[in-house]
């Protein structure tokens, strides 16, 4: 039998994702430094980013609210390894519950010393207050918020 071979392959496929009326309005809001959510009148949850329907009550959401750009860090991780095709390390990501929102969402945590992993629990804590740092140039993207920094 001959020695098995490998041949190279690559998927390069382009897409365009529809952002829908709710996320589109949210992204437009970010341009104006406004963070918008939708409120469920049945369970009173405030979803940020906004949703078209409440996943618990299974009803359409029609009431919009604006929440603050400050919030609470629920948990965080720090990426130290370069994964091919993904952002360059090191960087921190957190689950952040904005003041006025019911549930956490995902974003970068910045202005934090990530050089010593063993010190991270002293630097970032569950329950810590954070604030959004906005990009000067905003294009209607989740990255119009550059990151959240500890308060």
């Amino acid at each position: 039998m001959s020695k098995p071979l490998e041949i190279p392959g690559k998927w390069e496929i382009e897409y365009k994702y529809a952002t829908g009326p709710y996320i589109s309005k949210f992204l437009e809001g970010l341009k104006e430094k406004k963070i918008l959510g939708t409120k469920c009148n049945s369970c009173k949850r405030v979803y940020v980013p906004p949703r078209m329907f409440c996943e618990k009550c299974f009803i359409e959401l029609k009431d919009w609210v604006e929440v603050k750009d400050t919030g609470t860090l629920e948990t965080f991780i720090v990426v130290y390894r370069k994964f091919y095709g993904l952002p360059d390390p090191p960087y921190a990501i957190g689950l952040i519950k904005l003041d006025g929102a019911s549930e956490a969402f995902l974003h970068y945590i910045g202005e934090v010393d990530l050089s010593n992993p063993e010190k991270l629990p002293d630097i970032l804590k569950q329950g810590q207050k954070v604030v959004a740092v906005w990009n000067e140039e905003r294009k209607g993207s989740i990255l119009d918020i550059k990151y959240f920094k500890p308060l």
């Binding site: 993904l86 969402f105 992993p117």
Partner: protein, 386 residues
């Protein structure tokens, strides 16, 4: 509903299997299961096949793997393809069970295959499963989700949880030394663990599963067929599947609420009231060390926030009273869509007494588990020798 048994198991060697094509790897597993059950391909009524296409860089590989499943013989066998992420393998086992319990078929061949080693970076593939508008940009894969669990567990329940993650890392890699079908075989120490680099804090390289190529095939049958063709089948006593929200904020990160609900349902079906005493072996889906500890708690082997205590008392090691993953687990071998079905295969081999060097003495009841999605899906199965 009809009773359902497992009458044949076929595992392949795992690791980087660049000695065979996708199709050839499937055939290897299928032939091995048929040999184990002493059956021919024409004895099989229906086929359930699963893979997660984009890891292997082939859309719908069932199109050409079909011939390795016996579908090219012109006898018109039904073929169902299942793709449910990390739970794919256990979904295959559940689907095989439903096919037979319904009375529609007597024999079903379930096959899981994956060649994760065929892609350059598994986390890049996993990132294609992340919500594309708001979350994908942060570069998340599976390890990032598990790192959130570890970070949250650490700050909620146990500051030094890594000292117990270390034990999980060592136990599983040592168990794999006994398993000829395992990928990673590492005889590691505490020192190796603590010098292992962080990939995504708090998870180190040794907290994480490898990228494996591998396949597994299991033959399920009705009790009538099993009584005629098998001296020593494994019987399915309980099973189930549970789902939860995609979104991070909607579910608890440090405790697997939905696995706890599923376990109660499945153990009620299997008439298990004290899982720690009544289960002899548990094959859990421990893709990352922290998850094995969280699974102890959700399955009811330990109280919430106290799963690490089982490791302190060595209960879940190979010689403990409830060995977890004597196969070496996902931490040693992870051909993703096959991994859940490998858990079922290992649990079946244990109750049949056919697990070779990794056999635990006197196993009557074993469980197999898998998680998938954005930490949101679980499947669970209870197997017994009676």
């Amino acid at each position: 509903m009809k009773k359902v048994a497992i009458i044949g198991v076929g595992l392949t060697k795992t690791g980087r299997r660049n000695d065979v094509t996708h199709q050839e790897l499937v055939w290897e597993a299928v032939k091995s299961a048929l040999n184990d059950a002493e059956l021919e391909i024409d004895d099989i009524d229906a086929i359930i096949y699963g893979t997660m296409d984009n890891f292997d860089g082939i859309s719908s590989p069932e199109r050409f793997d079909s011939i390795a499943l016996g579908c090219g013989r012109g006898n018109g066998k039904p073929l169902m393809k299942i793709t449910t992420g990390g739970t794919t393998g256990i979904s295959l086992a559940l689907a095989a069970y439903y096919h037979i319990a319904s009375g529609l078929y007597d024999t079903v061949l379930a096959v899981g295959v994956q060649k994760v080693g065929e892609n350059v970076e598994a986390q890049q593939v996993l990132n294609t499963a992340v919500e594309p508008i708001l979350e994908k940009t942060f570069g998340l894969g599976a390890i990032h989700a598990a790192a959130f669990q570890a970070s949250r567990y650490k700050s909620t329940y146990k500051k030094n949880i890594e000292d117990y993650m270390c034990k999980v890392a060592i136990n599983n890699r040592k168990n794999a030394l006994r398993n000829p079908f395992a990928h990673l075989k590492l005889n590691i120490t505490d020192e190796d663990y603590y010098s292992s680099p962080y990939l995504v804090w708090p998870l180190r390289l040794l907290d994480s599963c490898p990228s494996s190529d591998g396949a597994v095939a299991i033959i399920f049958s009705s009790s009538e067929f099993a009584k005629k063709h098998s001296e020593n089948p494994a019987w399915i006593k309980g099973l189930g599947y549970i789902s939860d929200s995609y979104w991070w904020g909607t579910k608890s990160i440090e405790f697997w609420d939905n696995l706890a609900i599923l376990s109660r349902r499945v153990f009620r079906m299997a008439k298990i009231s004290d899982p720690l005493k009544e289960i002899d072996v548990a094959e859990l889906y421990n893709a990352f060390t922290i998850q094995e500890i969280m699974e102890y708690e959700a399955i009811g082997l330990a109280k919430k926030g106290e799963g690490w205590k089982l490791l302190e008392e060595d209960i879940t090691s190979f010689h403990g009273s409830l060995p977890v993953c004597p196969s070496g687990g996902i931490l040693s071998t992870n051909p993703i869509a096959a991994s859940g079905l490998i858990r079922v295969a290992e649990a079946a081999l244990q109750v049949m007494g056919k697990a070779g060097e990794r056999q635990i003495a006197g196993v009557k009841t074993a469980i197999a588990h898998a998680w998938g999605g954005a930490l949101q899906f679980h499947g669970l199965m209870v197997l017994s020798n009676e």
